[in-house]
């Protein structure tokens, strides 16, 4: 058996993304490099043959997915699993957690301005976020982070696939200093908005 065939069989039989090292478990002749080269060859073959599916790189792994241009055909079937869409509040909360992880509920609520425990629980139930630790400090609040399932849901290969903050139209570094004595504007190279110290002036 050629490595491509083994890899193809493994990918075909799986309904979730598999990492290269997981695929390599299929046979002694395989290792991560061999698997990745085999996947590249498969991708080439599928493209050449104009296959309706491709090896997608999702959630730090690989998965056979149909190409987007076939969606309209598949959507006519009830048997095709249709991923459910997230609500506005869920997306907002997920965005905060994805960019600020690890982050506690209080910080999420401070940014959103609304209570978020219900949304966070829903996201947890759906396996999109998980508790990744506890913060230091009073009560040692739980800290949340995203899961591989999150990457899968949005078709991201890794967290690096998230929209980069400098691509966004609203960027904090664009702001003019409010007053001369205000703290320095956020460093352009610093991707995250500066939330540190903001809690102290929180009126609550």
């Amino acid at each position: 058996m050629r490595p491509e065939q083994i890899v193809e069989a493994v990918l075909f039989s799986s309904d979730a993304p598999l990492r290269a090292e997981e695929i390599a478990r299929a046979d002694e002749s395989l290792d991560e490099d061999v698997v990745e080269r085999a996947i590249q060859r498969l991708q080439g073959e599928y493209q050449e043959d104009e296959r309706a599916f491709e090896v997608a790189e999702v959630a730090e792994g690989f998965q056979l997915l149909t190409r987007p241009e076939f969606a309209s055909y598949l959507e006519r079937f009830d048997t095709v699993p249709r991923p459910s869409r997230l609500s506005g509040p869920a997306l907002e909360t997920l965005a905060i957690i994805a960019y600020r992880q690890p982050i506690g509920r209080m910080e999420v609520e401070y940014i959103r301005g609304v209570s978020s425990s219900g949304v966070i629980r829903t996201l947890q139930d759906r396996g999109l976020v998980e508790v990744v630790g506890r913060a230091e400090g009073l009560g040692r609040p739980l800290l949340y982070g995203t899961t591989p399932r999150f990457l899968e849901h949005f078709g991201f290969q890794s967290l690096a696939d998230l929209p980069r903050t400098e691509e966004l139209s609203v960027v904090l570094r664009d702001r003019a200093p409010l007053t001369a004595d205000q703290e320095a504007p956020v460093d352009p190279d610093q991707e995250e908005l500066n939330l540190e110290g903001s809690e102290e002036s929180d009126p609550q």
Binding site: F70, A98, I111, G155, F156
Partner: protein, 276 residues
């Protein structure tokens, strides 16, 4: 520190909230940040120079529509209102130019920009989500065949409904009342029963003692009697393993020496209703 003039009047949301009164549908907003950002962006206000008095009035006017039953979300809006009013008050206080103090609006601006950025990110996420939704993995899930309701004709006849209605037993409200009754079975009865059977048989199965009765209470009382007699060292309780048959062994009147059989009693506990 004395409140500057005009402060108290500004606290109240004026019925006519100055120029450009805004009518907003609160349901559209996910929270106070969303509403505030909307007010600012809708009116093309420079976010770095928010006319705090005007925005505060508009914000207060908008949240007047919150119904009392939505108190949960109202709290969040009111908290923001309080923040706005506080900033407004701070703006009115004279600030010595040489003093190193941040613009009272600075923190709010940071929060607004941050929220706006998060909102843009969540729009991007939504786009990514719908892109991803156009690509399908293997893993067909065959749906459970469920005949549509409207396609299956209604075949129930009136007679059947009537019969079903007659069959319904109206629960007796008295039957649902909790009644405390006297113990109908005395433990002494059971002690006597055991003492009658055991000396001649040497050993007896617990379930055999219960055989003539159905009520759980007999099981309970027999078990208690067994424990009592074991305590008196009249018999020994044996059970090989939890939930297996419980045996009562005769030790004779007065009991010949302790062999630590009390431990057996504890093992016997789950047996109480085991065979019922």
């Amino acid at each position: 520190m004395r409140a500057p003039p005009g402060r108290s009047g500004a606290l109240l949301p004026s019925a006519v909230a100055g120029p450009g009164r805004f009518v907003v549908d609160l349901d559209r907003f996910q929270g106070p940040m969303d509403l505030l950002l909307h007010l600012i962006r809708e009116q093309d206000i420079d976010i770095f120079d928010i006319p705090i008095a005007r925005i505060t009035d508009q914000f207060l006017a908008a949240i007047q529509e919150i119904h009392p039953e939505e108190l949960d979300s109202a709290g969040e809006f009111l908290e923001m209102a309080a923040t706005l009013v506080r900033i407004k008050a701070q703006m009115l206080l004279p600030r010595p130019p040489d003093e190193e103090e941040e613009d009272p609006r600075a923190e709010l601006v940071r929060r607004l920009l941050e929220y706006e950025q998060i909102r843009e990110i969540s729009q991007r996420l939504e786009a990514a989500e719908s892109q991803r939704a156009r690509r399908f993995p293997k893993g067909y899930v065959p749906p459970r065949p469920k005949p549509p309701l409207e396609e299956s004709p209604l075949e129930t006849t009136w007679e059947e409904v009537y019969e079903a209605a007659l069959g319904v037993e109206v629960p007796d409200p008295k039957a649902r009342e909790h009644q405390v009754t006297r113990r109908g079975v005395a433990m002494e009865e059971k002690v006597e029963l055991i003492l009658k059977m055991l000396p001649e048989r040497g050993r007896v199965e617990f379930s055999e003692l219960l055989r003539p009765w159905k009520e759980k209470l007999h099981g309970v009382m027999t078990f208690l009697a067994g424990l009592e007699l074991a305590r008196r060292r009249t018999l020994r309780l044996r059970q090989v393993q939890p939930f297996s048959e419980l045996w009562l062994y005769w030790r004779g009147e007065g009991g010949a020496g302790s062999t630590g059989d009390e431990a057996q009693d504890r093992a016997a506990m789950p047996e109480e209703e085991g065979d019922r």
